[in-house]
Symmetry: C2
Subunit: 531 residues, 2 copies
């Protein structure tokens, strides 16, 4: 990752800031200062697309002492090393086994998409626009991206066209406070997390995470022999004082492992608890991490599903500027050390099937991921990257994408409100309690299990949870059991929870399911039926 782009971007010593991203014309004008490499498998880095202001900031710290043996042993690809000769004028390559695009049986790809800001399915049907990518659009001067490039091999950081978009988006939203931050496309946060564990951990290590955490994230760690040190939570997620205590009193002998050096956290709309860390909470957590030399992984699929407080009478943001202002600061935004790796995903805001996301972190760390992906998943699908580029860059631009994200915020606010209204209407308050979430897709419902008649008969937490779960299933409502998300299976379970999502089912079905769950609870706890 060459620093040469710095020279292109910094004009003298004057820091030039990115123009207002709410105005696509201003962005287009600014972009003229840097070109996008459009060749087959062309090399690119975020440096080519960052605004000059970025380069005036200090560099990230180094994390060599946190890297695994596997990560430290990874060398750049010898074949890709030969690519440096390709830029010589007149060079003919019989080197790499890249197929010729004339053998690709795809002449065009079109997608029909909403025209901002008419985003609903019904509006798209009427006013949506069809965008077409041809095979040779680049050569024909029609576009910066085409099927010829998208359907061939690429670099593991992703195609330059998409690296540019996510780099600009990252700067618009997070403005990382150090200079050498980089983006690298991924095939989604699960793969990025699997790679993170292999890059930072050895078998036997402990990592820190919330006491309730995304089951798949835990199941990714378990077979690698990586163990969980669970940090207690409140309605704002991670408790910094508990984390500090856990680390300060770490007993290497008793644990049979060194003090953890990696924190995995979902700061916004945490899965499964729905908890969102406030700006102040994030600062406190960051400080504890600085104190104990902890590297932070923030997994943020729900970041843009932040909402107004429930029934607080706060109107949604009325402009893009206001939207940017009300977003909570990410760990990346407060990361003066470069100790944060941010996992970004299009799954919750565009669709999971794109299997495309990206990571943001310091040059040293992102370079290790690029090497890791080179020898594993390579890069996200060319169809996906091309469709995303046509939609996000060519059709919407950053301004339109922000409009879309505001639309998604409203959409999930309505869904959350519908679920909460159903909870208020149908759940027996004697045996349920909840905090309305301010981000994400999940409602976490606490059930005082010791009030269950089975408890007096000596039934276990697991048995009572199972009984309630099955009573609900029998009535045709499927919720998730809280114990599935317990990150340290050895810790005693004082409390009992069920997780309901407001993402998937239509509103009327969602209300019906909550009614059924309420009936199940009444039956299990021996309460009288709802009138």
């Amino acid at each position: 990752m060459s620093p040469s782009a710095v020279d292109i971007k910094v004009q003298g010593d004057t820091a030039v800031t990115i123009p207002n991203p709410v105005d696509n014309n201003a962005l287009a004008a600014w972009r003229k200062t840097g070109a996008v490499p459009t060749g087959t498998a062309a090399f690119s880095t975020s440096d080519m697309f960052k605004s000059p202001a970025c380069f005036t900031r200090p560099k990230a710290k180094r994390w060599d002492h946190h890297l695994s043996l596997e990560a430290k042993s990874r060398k750049p690809s010898s074949l890709k090393g030969a690519a440096k000769f390709l830029s010589r004028p007149g060079m003919i390559s019989l080197g790499g086994g890249l197929p010729s695009s004339e053998t690709f049986p795809f002449e065009e790809m079109s997608i029909k998409v909403p025209r901002a800001p008419k985003f609903s399915e019904a509006e798209t049907h009427v006013s949506g626009t069809t965008i077409t990518a041809g095979k040779h659009d680049i050569k024909e001067g029609k576009s910066l991206f085409d099927l010829e490039v998208a359907l061939n091999y690429g670099q593991s950081v992703g195609f330059a066209q998409m690296v540019r978009f996510v780099t600009e988006h990252t700067e618009i939203i997070h403005e990382p406070p150090y200079s050498d931050w980089y983006c690298c496309l991924t095939v989604g946060n699960t793969m990025a997390w699997d790679a993170t564990l292999r890059i930072f951990c050895e078998r036997g290590d402990y990592i820190l995470t919330e006491e309730y955490a995304f089951a798949s994230a835990l199941e990714t760690a378990a077979p690698l022999g990586i163990r969980i040190a669970a940090v207690k939570m409140d309605e704002q997620g991670l408790l910094p004082e508990d984390m500090d205590e856990l680390l300060s009193n770490w007993d290497e002998k008793a644990r049979g492992a060194a003090k953890p050096h990696l924190l995995y956290t979902v700061p916004s709309g945490q899965n499964p608890t729905g908890a969102t860390q406030s700006a102040q909470r994030r600062q406190e957590v960051y400080k504890v991490c600085q104190r104990h030399d902890i590297f932070i992984v923030e997994d943020e699929p729900y970041y843009f599903l932040q909402m107004e407080p429930y029934k607080a009478g706060v109107p949604p943001p009325s402009s893009r500027e206001e939207f940017l202002k009300v977003l909570l600061p990410s760990f990346l935004k407060i990361d003066v050390d470069g100790r944060v790796l941010r996992l970004e995903s299009f799954s919750k805001v565009l669709s999971p099937g794109t299997r495309t996301g990206w990571i943001v972190g310091s040059e040293q760390i992102v370079e290790r991921f690029a090497r890791h992906f080179e020898s594993s998943n390579q890069n996200p699908s060319g169809f996906s990257q091309l469709a995303l580029f046509k939609l996000l860059d060519e059709e919407w631009g950053h301004a339109g994408y922000l409009d879309w994200l505001m639309h998604m915020r409203l959409y999930y606010t309505h869904r959350r409100d519908a679920l909460l209204e159903a909870c208020e209407k149908y759940l027996p308050r004697e045996v349920t309690s909840w905090v309305p979430p301010s981000a994400g897709m999940f409602q976490w419902i606490e059930v005082p299990w010791k009030k269950h008649p089975g408890y007096a008969q000596g039934k276990s937490h697991a048995e009572i949870e199972e009984a309630i779960f099955l009573a609900s299933v029998d009535r045709g409502a499927l919720l998730s059991r809280g114990s599935w998300f317990r990150s340290d299976k050895h810790m005693a379970e004082d409390k009992m929870f069920f997780r309901a999502t407001f993402a998937a089912a239509p509103t009327d079905k969602m209300q019906e399911a909550i009614k059924r769950f309420g009936d199940a609870l009444r039956a299990e706890f021996g309460l009288k039926d709802a009138e």
Copy 2:
């Protein structure tokens, strides 16, 4: 992976064979016996799509003793386990966090593709057809696959629609001789190979492979601490007697590791040597593997780029039936034990940017991969899977795809012939020799380096190889250095090779590059200029 589909497919004890795949109508009729699950993230297995004949064969052996600690510790996802309740009538799920498709900003996707058998770019431009997938085509009865399903989460084996196609294709081409073979989609062979190493090996293990091997495959193994035991080759690739000797005389103490139990091989058009194992050679290699309890990974991206012998006057296959007959038997086809994992890719026959391939192996092994992918890359892009389904299943069918593969065979035959003619015309025969490849994309050119004037002056193999490489680069021709592919870097290098691909450059450029390489060789070896 439930065996229930067996009941659906086996009618009494009568083995029904798959109808002639060269006839799409016959296939369509046969298909009516089994339905494709079309729900969001629907469960599917190859058993649903195999012909009844498959189930009459014996089962594969078990490989528990070959699995890594990581692979043995992997448990099924607890969240996906809850999916079994979803099939109950009337169930409403607030369980999984799957977004609703109304939030996907893609109403339609279209691709313009060739109509079989008019496959060239020029023909496609004139007679190609545009196929469209809508968001709700399944519900509207228009198709078995649509954007609503493709753009949501899926199972790690891939969407049922594509699992069906690759399962049928596998049966048509390979007819595995055991019953419980399964397919699982992958994001490409590099990821499949990375997963293979993690599923079968521990740090410190040795694996077997050809003495020259694909550099990226070696670079995937190295950081995992997996070492290479190199097997000698001739123009048919792996030498079974050398492999037998290597294994029979394995010295655990000297090597510091147990005898290898995994062979990685590219049987057809091997990268970089272009060697293709004959049918008999494959049988011999298989026998050595049986004798020494070796599990075989056949990486076969070039399988369908098999060609007629160079200038032997053999005409290309004149029908689909003949094409199927002349294909060399895969290891999968002779695998009575279920000791083969086949890595399949669309990269070389459709395009690398689909980032979609699949694996075939025994139920036990493929299930471990499905669990591995569940916690890493999940599944290939929905855009890719939908585009492939529309092209391969709905537009071409198996018959059209075979026609396409025959077209690709001819295309690469012409390219190989053009490269070979250039070699004959421009390379100095005193210092070059080669065997015309019968498959793949690569020409392996031997150079007798001890004839180089530098040799008498004490220059090393590496120095002379570098000098020739740079002399060629200086003249504007980039070839790959043989040493990049040396699988055991500790072995002395007796011979010197350069690799040229006939895949990438246009024919005239390819000939010009070979001329330049010839000039470089003449200059380096002090031969007189070509007249």
